[in-house]
């Protein structure tokens, strides 16, 4: 019987081509019509150390990393030792014949293949080992390699005969699998694509979204897992008429982004938790001086240096509450790779519309996973620009300058709290400042002014709290509601499907904007749920606490900090074991 999808793992040593092999397999499978979603771990060390590439492919869109490994390929003994526990009860192992021995429990569902030897014979080099692995997998699963071979040729076009040698290794791996391995694993064949699909990572989607939104100034400091945004924009931004600068630290990055935002540019920086900590003071300035800015935080396991290459959702508190005083900001969390693109545009739109800093919370697993998605139609994704003084230029009290007149009332108290922003280079000069100020931007420390200005800065966001995007699955009334944020959504939706198969009704609710939180809508949805579970890849349950305090909704926390994303089964099992009975007893 063919499975609707399968989860493949390649495990070995960094430097053996595990990741590049996995990448090229994923691209090839994608071009052969399969949907894919990857997950990878790699060591924080520069050279060496164990690494693993996981990809789940299937005939329909893949939402999460997969509950267990259906096919594990071990490049070496350590690959087996570290990963065999993820193999499902019917999972298959293919081990490198030269370097890996499986344990007895896998004796009847494992096969040995001399990867390096096949590579040497077919392609003339043992370095083709990873291509033999990819060929073996394609042979076993009966995946057509035409598209893959084209990709290999294109990718190694500048490296002489390497492409041809790799194709020879790939084919030899496939031939060996078809001749010597039993047909033990089948996956449904994909149908024809209804819409054009693309395969990209969360960070690549953020780059695309930011360019669509009109990004023209980027500054950043290298940090895992956000460095590829800096690298990508350093290469791309001049083509879009903008600049990308590697700064001396994250403070300089955000300071310069705010300088550019003040000047009228759409500006962005990207970092991870440690960098966001350094930026905290400037987030307060941006909130107070009302300067648009987008800050991407691709979260990794903390605290401190933590586990820099592993995923976690532990910067929510920092994003929502970080910085001294009470500084307004917007926090947006994308849930999938294509959502990263949409949310990046929405982040710029919110920054521009409300003249606030916006933090876009991705995480390592989302930033670096490759995911097949339907190609977004950019013409349908609206781009918004800030209200400038020039937009409202007539009769607004703007003073011509150079004659000692009072400054233009940049921080004018308006109904919406949004004041037209003069752009340097055009009339309306004023001083942008983090010091408490009156409408002219002049320093003022009276209680009345402070109250009025905090009212202005916070009430701007009311419209966003009422109108932000939310995705909901399931019925209005359900036995279990899964309420979450960010990259756990796919696993939550699949968990609801698993629960449905067991006769438990479940619904999911994922707000994109976490600050300001859509409190009223969460409360209303919660009324229909017997019990609510909040799954988070963090230790303390940061979002669960926020929901309890802001929405006054009781929730059950599900937390894990393994450095890996949730699987659907983890969420479903937790609900089955702990929550269903509690809900049943309560009813």
């Amino acid at each position: 019987m063919a499975l609707p999808d399968i989860t493949l793992q390649l495990a070995g040593e960094s430097g053996e081509g595990v990741i590049s092999g996995g990448d090229i397999f994923t691209s090839g499978a994608g071009r052969a019509g399969y949907w894919a979603l990857t997950f990878r771990t790699y060591p924080a060390e520069i050279k060496g150390g164990p690494c693993m590439f996981q990809v789940r492919i299937g005939a329909n869109r893949i939402k999460s990393i997969g509950n267990h490994t259906d096919l594990l390929v071990c490049f070496n003994q350590e690959g087996f030792d570290l990963q065999h526990e993820t193999v499902g009860p019917e999972g298959i192992i293919i081990a490198d014949a030269e370097s890996c021995k499986v344990t007895d429990e896998f004796a009847d569902r494992s096969f040995e293949v001399p990867f390096s030897q096949i590579a040497e014979e077919a392609g003339g080099s043992r370095r083709g080992k990873n291509m033999v692995v990819v060929g073996t997998v394609c042979g076993l699963l009966d995946i057509d390699t035409t598209a893959l071979e084209q990709l290999i040729l294109a990718r190694y076009a500048h490296k002489g005969d390497v492409g041809e040698a790799n194709i020879a290794s790939l084919r030899a791996g496939g031939d060996n699998a078809r001749q010597n391995l039993p047909s033990v694993l089948n996956v449904d064949k994909p149908g024809p694509a209804e819409r054009e699909r693309i395969l990209l990572s969360g960070n690549q989607a953020i780059v695309a979204g930011s360019l669509h939104a009109g990004l023209s100034y980027y500054a950043g400091y290298p940090i895992t897992p956000a460095s590829d945004i800096l690298e990508s924009l350093a290469a791309r931004l001049p083509r879009h008429g903008g600049v990308a600068i590697q700064t001396e630290d994250e403070i300089a990055a955000l300071a310069s982004v705010l300088g550019a935002g003040y000047t009228g540019a759409k500006a962005m920086t990207a970092t991870s938790g440690p960098g966001l900590s350094l930026m905290s003071e400037l987030i307060g300035l941006a909130g107070t001086a009302e300067i648009p800015a987008v800050i991407v935080d691709s979260m990794r396991a903390g605290p401190s240096t933590g586990m820099p290459t592993k995923t976690e959702q532990s910067d929510l508190n920092q994003a929502v509450y970080g910085s001294h005083g009470e500084a307004p900001r917007v926090v947006i969390a994308p849930t999938t790779v294509d959502d990263c693109l949409t949310c990046a545009v929405e982040a710029f739109n919110a920054a521009e519309t409300y003249q606030v800093p916006v933090i876009l919370l991705s995480d390592q697993s989302l930033s670096h996973r490759l995911e097949t998605v339907e190609r977004p139609d950019l013409s349908e994704i609206e781009v918004e620009d800030r209200l400038t003084l020039a937009d409202v230029a007539s009769g607004n009290g703007a003073s011509p300058n150079g004659d000692g007149n009072s400054a233009y009332p940049r921080y004018k108290l308006t109904e919406s709290g949004i004041s037209p922003m003069p752009i340097p280079g055009t009339p309306g000069s004023y001083v942008s400042t983090g010091i408490e100020h009156d409408e002219q931007g002049h320093p003022s420390y009276t209680g009345e002014i402070h109250q009025a200005m905090q009212d202005k800065r916070w009430k701007k966001l009311d419209a966003l709290a009422a109108g932000s995007r939310v995705t909901v699955t399931g019925a209005e009334k359900a036995q279990v509601g899964i309420l979450g944020w960010g990259s756990t959504e796919g696993a939550a939706i699949e968990a609801a499907e698993l629960l449905a198969a067991e006769g438990v009704t479940a619904a999911t609710f994922y707000p994109r904007v976490l600050c300001p939180l859509p409190v009223d809508r969460i409360k209303k949805w919660a009324e229909g749920m017997d019990v609510i579970v909040v799954p988070e890849v963090n230790y303390t349950g940061q979002f669960a606490r926020m929901v309890r305090s802001d929405c006054e909704v009781p929730v059950v926390q599900l937390n894990q900090i393994s450095g890996r994303p949730f699987t659907a089964k983890q969420i479903a099992d937790f609900i089955t074991e702990n929550v269903k009975t509690a809900a049943g007893a309560a009813a």
Partner: protein
């Protein structure tokens, strides 16, 4: 500047009254700035003054141009963002010795290295004035203050030598009480294409009154000094940093020049074209 509208120095003076103490050197720096702006005919709507925090941080509020009062120590990276986002603007960063060389010290060499086309004027009073008199990175060794009750155990930073070491494009020392010369230095700094650094002695009359010592002590660089000679400039800075004048000049392509050239050479693109690359499955960066 494309326009040459003549503006009186007073045209740059806002109606906010400076909060500085009587006799504060910052008044002199502000007045010199007005005169330099006037001579250059700068348009206040096309000029941005960026500051950090400290007595000097309030400087932009006293000028009719655009201003940006950032957080402590971050005037230089902020000014970079302003200049790189709109190279047509004239951008001046101002600050104090604490703002620029303690909390913001990490940014100084990088602004110089990048050769951002801005002018950076430091009002150096060798003390923290706003917080009432603690020692700063330019305070003298053995100097007593509320935070160094037994005398400063640290030695002062030689800002001239630091700037020359970082290859700042224009390095000069001025003084608030030498109005004409300071005006000329600010003017020359703005006219210099590149990162211009002017360290202006600006005495604090409340917490470190060096007015008389500096008035008596400052000298001018010999006319024979060649600012294009980096070694000579460095030697001069090490030998006697209390000397006023232009120590060093090194004109070279600015950060703006380099990025504008990159933009010009680049083939224009769209976000959709970026997605085309992913549609082909060529996912490598």
């Amino acid at each position: 500047m494309t326009e040459t509208i003549v503006r009186d120095p007073k045209a740059y003076k806002s109606d906010l009254k400076p909060i500085w103490c009587p006799g504060c050197g910052d008044f002199g720096v502000l007045a010199a700035t007005f005169r330099a702006f006037s001579e250059l005919g700068l348009d206040p709507d096309k000029t941005v003054i960026v500051s950090g925090i400290g007595c000097s941080g309030r400087f932009p509020g006293f000028v009719t141009s655009y201003g940006y009062h950032s957080v402590h120590g971050r005037a230089l990276p902020t000014a970079m963002g302003v200049k790189m986002a709109n190279p047509d603007l004239e951008v001046i960063a101002v600050g104090g010795d604490g703002d620029g060389f303690a909390i913001g010290g990490g940014h100084f060499p990088h602004a110089a290295r990048r050769n951002i086309d801005i002018t950076y004027v430091v009002m150096n009073n060798e003390i923290y004035g706003l917080t009432k008199g603690q020692v700063s990175p330019t305070s003298q060794h053995d100097q007593k203050s509320p935070s160094s009750p037994f005398g400063n155990t640290e030695s002062p930073l030689n800002t001239m030598a630091t700037a020359i070491a970082a290859d700042a494009s224009f390095v000069a020392r001025g003084a608030s009480f030498r109005a004409k010369e300071l005006t000329e230095l600010i003017l020359a700094g703005i006219n210099n294409k590149g990162f211009s650094f002017i360290d202006a002695y600006s005495p604090c009359t409340s917490f470190n009154n060096t007015t008389q010592i500096w008035k008596d002590g400052v000298r001018y660089l010999d006319e024979s000094h060649d600012p294009s000679d980096r070694a000579a400039a460095f030697a001069r800075a090490l030998d006697d940093p209390m000397t006023l004048g232009v120590y060093y000049k090194h004109e070279r392509p600015t950060m703006v020049d380099q990025f504008e050239a990159l933009k010009k050479a680049a083939k224009p693109s769209t976000a959709d074209e970026l997605l085309d690359g992913y549609a082909l499955g060529l996912t490598a960066a």
